[in-house]
């Protein structure tokens, strides 16, 4: 199964983590780097499934009456898209793939704190995904990824329980990964690597891990309640038995809003790495950026009610959640300003990862600012549950997280595989992705404000123009996703061999060979320097007479 480079060139003592080739060496590995790759294979598989569902949805929406799919099939497809993308792609993407691979390397450790738990996390992820996919094959689920009661508990088909079980199992994967990261960061940092010398990526992984560990159990309880309600008709959410359907929404968003930050925080960490590396500059305002990550993680727990301004909750709850939602925007703004300031007087180059990082800052900012519109209670009354919301969260999830993931993958690809990919192709893919993304989702803001409701299989004709634009954009976006698959696969065989530090970056992961040796560091690193210790501009060759 292993198409990765052979180690013919290298003497045996330089054997790296990819040297063993048996299936067993992969399936029973406890090496964080291999587990990161296992997660990569997993999320690519789920991403393909989620993308196929999205493609069907977008194609169906080209005509107002929805000719391609039946209403029932359409509903199953957007449910599939949401469930798979949220739980089996976005949430594990950066933490479980890049985090697993890079975190121990960044802090000078030989592995995570609990390597076997780490492997268990992958198995739970795959089993959870398998159960979820079985639910699709066995009849499909049409509740949307939100599983709102009483539709999910009383009216939708019984596969809901199977799908919920898959997500439940996958939740334990999240919890174990989070636990592992927290303890790894606390206990395994190399001597001298103090908290304020950690790369920002570690800070954001830490903040993410806190959310994973604290929020996921609430989701687990909620899913259990849904299953119990379906099997035994307990009536927690069923109004006919005195239950409260809104209670479901409170619990759901108590998990799912922090989950948004699970999906975006690690992306912010990646971008901090990329901006500093390709601007050759220390991060501006390091303690503020680090603190902002933790602030986002904490405040993120207090804003769930902004999903419910029109649900029937009291208007005073609406005020509080609106206010807190405005507060959570501040640390995000702080990050954006600090990244911008980092570019000031840098020495900026534009390799592929940097293009993704710049794209991220722009799209994340747009996504965040449209979030301010949604946090405005009175405007939300109009745009809630319309394509405006769909556009907003795709700006964060795709424009933000997917771009950060792609940037990070391109950045660490030489480290992961020991090979370079063709940078020109990479830049092209980044630009195509950026254009395709905006063409897909910008029109959705407009049609959302016009009143186009989300989750509609058929729609009034006046929205068709925007749907066609959006579908056209999605095809371009698809090309942007496909290009990296091609040149990454190509690079495995034909790519130039990567040196230990192809980007001339700082950080401990660049001090070991590419690909790294099995146990990362022969000797635990000492004499740790401050993070992003790039040459100060006061010294040549970065100055010129002013």
């Amino acid at each position: 199964m292993n198409a990765l480079p052979a180690t013919r060139r290298e003497p045996p003592e330089e054997a790296n983590y990819l040297s063993a080739h048996t299936l067993r060496s992969w399936l029973l590995t406890t090496d964080h780097k291999r587990i990161g790759l296992l997660f990569l294979f997993g999320i690519i598989g789920y991403f393909l499934i989620g993308t196929a569902a999205a493609a069907l949805v977008r194609l169906d929406l080209v005509t107002p009456q929805g000719d391609l799919l039946s209403a029932e099939m359409y509903n199953r497809m957007f449910t599939l898209h949401g469930v798979v993308m949220v739980w089996f792609f976005l949430i594990p993407s950066i933490p479980s793939v890049l985090g697993n691979f890079v975190l121990p390397l960044m802090i000078g450790a030989r592995d995570v704190a609990f390597p076997r738990l780490n492997l268990l996390s992958w198995y739970l992820f795959m089993i959870g995904g398998g159960v979820t996919l079985y639910a699709i094959l066995a009849g499909g689920v049409d509740t949307g990824w939100t599983f709102y009661t009483p539709y999910s508990t009383t009216y939708a088909n019984p596969q809901v329980v199977t799908m919920v079980a898959g997500i439940f199992i996958n939740g334990f994967s999240s919890i174990l990964t989070g636990l592992n990261f927290i303890i790894t960061t606390h206990k395994l940092r190399a001597p001298g690597l103090t908290w304020f010398r950690l790369p920002l990526f570690v800070w954001t992984l830490y903040a993410t891990a806190l959310i994973l560990v604290l929020a996921t159990p609430v989701l687990a309880m909620l899913l259990l309640l849904v299953a119990v309600e379906r099997f035994w008709g307990i009536g927690v959410f069923d109004p006919a038995q005195g239950g409260d359907p809104i209670l479901f929404q409170h619990l759901f968003w108590f998990y799912s809003h922090p989950a948004v930050y699970i999906m975006i925080l690690p992306g912010m960490g990646v971008v901090s790495e990329l901006v500093t590396c390709f601007a050759r500059k220390r991060l501006f305002g390091y303690p503020f950026v680090a603190g902002a990550s933790v602030a986002i993680a904490v405040l993120g727990f207090l804003v769930w009610g902004h999903h419910m301004f029109v649900s029937g909750q009291s208007i005073y709850s609406g005020f509080v959640f609106s206010l807190l939602s405005y507060m959570v925007a501040i640390p995000s703004a702080i990050k954006v300003f600090n990244w911008t300031a980092t570019l000031y007087k840098g020495s900026i180059s534009f390799e592929t990862p940097m293009l993704y990082a710049i794209g991220f800052i722009g799209l994340f900012t747009a996504g965040g600012l449209t979030g301010l519109m949604l946090a405005a209670t009175a405007v939300d009354v109009h745009v809630s549950d319309t394509y405006f919301v769909v556009a907003h969260f795709h700006y964060i999830m795709v424009g933000g997280m997917v771009l950060a993931f792609m940037g990070g993958l391109h950045y660490w690809w030489p480290k992961i595989t020991g090979r370079m990919y063709p940078d020109l192709a990479g830049r092209l893919a980044a630009v195509v992705t950026f254009i395709g993304f905006n063409l897909t989702f910008f029109p959705q803001f407009v049609m959302g404000y016009l009143g186009m409701p989300r989750r509609y299989h058929s729609y009034p004709e006046e929205f068709q123009f925007y749907h066609i634009l959006s579908t056209a954009g999605a095809s371009i976006l698809g090309v942007g996703y496909l290009l990296p698959v091609v040149y990454f696969l190509w690079s495995l065989k034909r790519g130039k061999r990567a040196p230990a530090n192809p980007w001339d970056a700082r950080g401990l992961e660049w001090t070991v060979a590419s690909p790294p040796p099995t146990h990362n560091f022969h000797d635990i690193p000492e004499g740790i320097r401050p993070p992003y210790d790039y040459p100060t501009p006061a010294t040549p060759p970065f100055t010129s007479p002013s």
């Binding site: 929805g66 049409d142 939100t146 709102y148 009483p150 539709y151 009216y155 939708a156 109004p239 409260d244 359907p245 809104i246 050759r280 305002g285 301004f309 029109v310 649900s311 029937g312 208007i315 005020f319 206010l323 405005y326 507060m327 501040i330 954006v336 300003f337 911008t340 300031a341 000031y344 007087k345 900026i348 180059s349 710049i358 722009g362 900012t365 600012l369 301010l372 519109m373 946090a375 405005a376 009175a378 405007v379 009354v381 109009h382 809630s384 549950d385 407009v446 404000y449 016009l450 009143g451 989300r454 989750r455 509609y456 299989h457 009034p460 068709q464 501009p537 100055t543 010129s544 002013s546």
Partner: protein, 332 residues
């Protein structure tokens, strides 16, 4: 092919929401400019290889952090206040609003006007009069959404929710279900037709004439035997209901509650939830015996019992809503 940019503005509140949106759009453009602008300039000016001065002044970092924390914070607080004020008005219907009942079910909207006239997936309204919708669902959660009014409210089973607006523009506007409710969610659509008041009155009085909800409620009130305890001299066993709507009700344990629609509905279905101070919890639950429509009718009847009227006088609830007199009277 059409590509409209803004939906119709057909209610008093619509312009207000659009102005708020415009303000937010301004803030968005401002922040995009103050981030994208410098990013592009820096990327160009400080591109690698360009010979420029890169010597940094190490001072002023903290002041900068403070600036770009406090300015966004101030703007955010301002935006919060501006939207909260509009939201507050959106959620507080005036006392004299015409009350129309809406029941959502998979996959249709059933509407009943105060005189009793019914329609499905259509909502006819008079222009220039405040309208309040009293809504509930028979099955799953729906959401009653009229983009031209910039108004939306979820419609829940087991709950009464409301929304209100003053239609200003005559014409036909789309009506959507905005909360996903199953297979034919996207077919749960219809039209809102806004007419000049006289035409609305005429429309109301043509076609099949049905009993008004308040009258139907009164009939049901007697059929179910509610009057046995709640009316006249018998009110020692149960609280009298004249003028109960909108009053402050003292509860056992010292709490008080405002008798709104939610309270009236809960008291019929879950009578032991909130027991009026001084009375024994002896009322049986009517859960499962009354349909959502009948519940709305009972609530309409109870609301029609003004403080001065006698609950046992038959027919007293009849003219809750006399369209002609209302139009001469209170409309803005």
């Amino acid at each position: 092919m059409k590509f409209p940019l803004l939906p119709d503005q057909a209610s008093l509140g619509a312009g207000e929401v659009d102005r708020l949106m415009l303000l937010l759009l301004g803030v968005t453009v401002f922040f995009l400019l103050v981030t994208a602008g410098p990013i592009l300039v820096f990327c160009f000016r400080y591109r690698r290889g360009n010979r420029v001065n890169r010597v940094l002044d190490p001072r002023g970092g903290f002041r900068l952090e403070l600036t770009w924390t406090l300015i966004p914070l101030t703007i955010a607080l301002g935006l919060f206040g501006a939207s909260a004020a509009v939201y507050f008005r959106q959620r507080h219907p005036p006392e004299d609003a015409i009350e129309i009942h809406v029941i959502g079910r998979q996959w249709m909207w059933k509407v009943q006007h105060p005189q009793g006239k019914r329609e499905i997936n259509e909502l006819h309204l008079p222009a220039g009069v405040p309208i309040k919708l009293l809504m509930t669902s028979q099955d799953v959660i729906h959401s009653f959404f009229i983009p031209a009014f910039r108004m939306k409210q979820d419609v829940l089973p087991g709950w009464l929710t409301t929304q209100w607006f003053v239609p200003t523009k005559t014409g036909s506007f789309p009506l959507f279900c905005a909360e996903y409710c199953g297979t034919d969610h996207s077919r749960m659509v219809g039209h809102v037709t806004v007419m000049p008041r006289p035409e609305y009155v005429q429309w109301l009085t043509t076609g099949v004439q049905e009993e008004s909800p308040a009258l139907a409620g009164e009939r049901r009130f007697r059929q179910l035997g509610c009057s046995g305890c709640h009316v006249g001299q018998s009110a020692v066993r149960a609280p009298a209901l004249n003028g109960v709507f909108g009053s402050v009700v003292p509860l056992q344990g010292g709490r008080t509650v405002i008798a709104d629609e939610r309270y009236l509905r809960d008291s019929i279905l879950l009578p032991n939830k909130e027991i009026v101070d001084g009375y024994a919890p002896m009322m049986p639950s009517y859960q499962g015996q009354i349909s959502e429509e009948e519940l709305l009718a009972l609530v309409a009847y109870l609301k029609s019992l003004g403080a001065g009227s006698a609950g046992n006088a038959p027919g007293v609830a009849a003219p809750v809503f006399a369209p002609a007199s209302r139009q001469e009277g209170g409309a803005p």
